[in-house]
C-alpha cells in the first residue's frame, strides 16, 4: 500500500550509504574543511540527518546528490564554529602582492595572458576540474572557503560573511583575492600546458 501511495519515488538504501558514498562524502568534506576529524564529524552528522529525514527525499536528484546537499550545510556549520573565535586580522592589507609595483601598475610579465574562454577548450574537460580544485586547495583556508561558499554553493554573501566571521567588505576582498589567485594559477598550471594556441606567441 505504501508503494502505491508514491509510485514514482525512488527508494533510499541507507544501509549502503557508508559503502557507496562514504568516501565521496569524506573527500567532499575534507576538501572544504581541511581537517580530517572535522570532516568525519560533518559526514556522520549529515548521514544521521539524512537517515532521520528520509521522508524528505523527493527523488528529484540522485541519492548521492541529496546526501551531498545535506553535507554542504553541515560543512557550513562546521566553518561557522571554526571561525567563531578567530578574528580576521590580516584581511585589510595586501601590500606584498608581487603582481603590482608600488603605484598599483601590473609589473611586466605579471599581466593576465589571454586564454581561450571557449567552453569546449577546457570547461568541458574533466581534467580541468582537477586543476581548478588543486588551485583552490592552494588558497589560504578562509579565502578558499569564501570562494567555495559564494561561488560554488552560491550562498547569499551576507550569510557567507557571517559564517566566516568577517565583514561584508572583507568578504569582497577575500573573493577578489581568491579569483585573482585562481585565475593566475589556472593560467600557469592548466592553460600553459594544455592549450598551446592560447599561449602568447613569443615575439
Amino acid at each position: 500500500m505504501s508503494d502505491a501511495a508514491s509510485p514514482s519515488k525512488p527508494a533510499l538504501n541507507p544501509e549502503s550509504w557508508v559503502d557507496q558514498h562514504g568516501d565521496y562524502l569524506l573527500g567532499y568534506a575534507m576538501n572544504r574543511l581541511r581537517n580530517r576529524s572535522r570532516a568525519e564529524d560533518a559526514v556522520q552528522e549529515a548521514l544521521i540527518t539524512a537517515f532521520k529525514g528520509q521522508e524528505k527525499f523527493e527523488g528529484r536528484s540522485s541519492e548521492r546528490t541529496w546526501l551531498t546537499g545535506i553535507l554542504k550545510y553541515k560543512c557550513l556549520e562546521a566553518m561557522r564554529k571554526n571561525w567563531r573565535e578567530v578574528a580576521a586580522s590580516d584581511i585589510a592589507t595586501d601590500d606584498n602582492d608581487v603582481d603590482f609595483d608600488e603605484r598599483g601598475h601590473l609589473r611586466p610579465g605579471h599581466a593576465p595572458e589571454s586564454f581561450s574562454l571557449e567552453p569546449g577548450a577546457s570547461i568541458d574537460k574533466k581534467e580541468f576540474y582537477d586543476a581548478l580544485n588543486s588551485c583552490l586547495t592552494g588558497l589560504p583556508e578562509r579565502t578558499a572557503q569564501a570562494f567555495v561558499a559564494a561561488e560554488i554553493d552560491q550562498e547569499p554573501l551576507d550569510g557567507v560573511a557571517q559564517t566566516l566571521n568577517v565583514s561584508l567588505n572583507n568578504l569582497y576582498v577575500l573573493l577578489h583575492r581568491a579569483r585573482k589567485t585562481l585565475r593566475g594559477c589556472l593560467e600557469k598550471t592548466w592553460f600553459a600546458e594544455s592549450d598551446p594556441a592560447a599561449v602568447k606567441p613569443s615575439a
Binding site: 562514504g22 573527500g27 559526514v43 537517515f51 603590482f100 598599483g104 580541468f128 577578489h176 585562481l182 585565475r183
Partner: protein, 96 residues
Amino acid sequence: MRMLFAKIVFHFIQCRETMELFSLKLDKPLNWRQRLAIRMHCLCCPGCSKYGEQLPWLRTAARKLEENFNYENLASFTPEEKAKLKEVLAKQEPES
C-alpha cells in the same frame, strides 16, 4: 597631487584597483563612477581587459566544479571507521 586630480576628474585608476572592481562587479552592482573608471582604464590596458573577461568565465567554471570533480579520491574511511559509522546509523530511528 597630479594623480589625485586625474583620479577625480578623469576617473583614472591603476591595475590593482581595476582588478578589485572587476571582482566587486560580480558581487554587487557598481556605481557609474566605478564603471567609468574600469572602462577608461581598460582602453589603455589589455591585461586588465582580459582579466575582466576571464573572471565571469572563472565563475562559470567554478559552478561546474562539483558535478565534474570526483571527491572520492581525496580521502577514504578505514574499514573500522566504516563499521563504526554503520553502527551509529543503525541506532537511529527515521522520523515520520
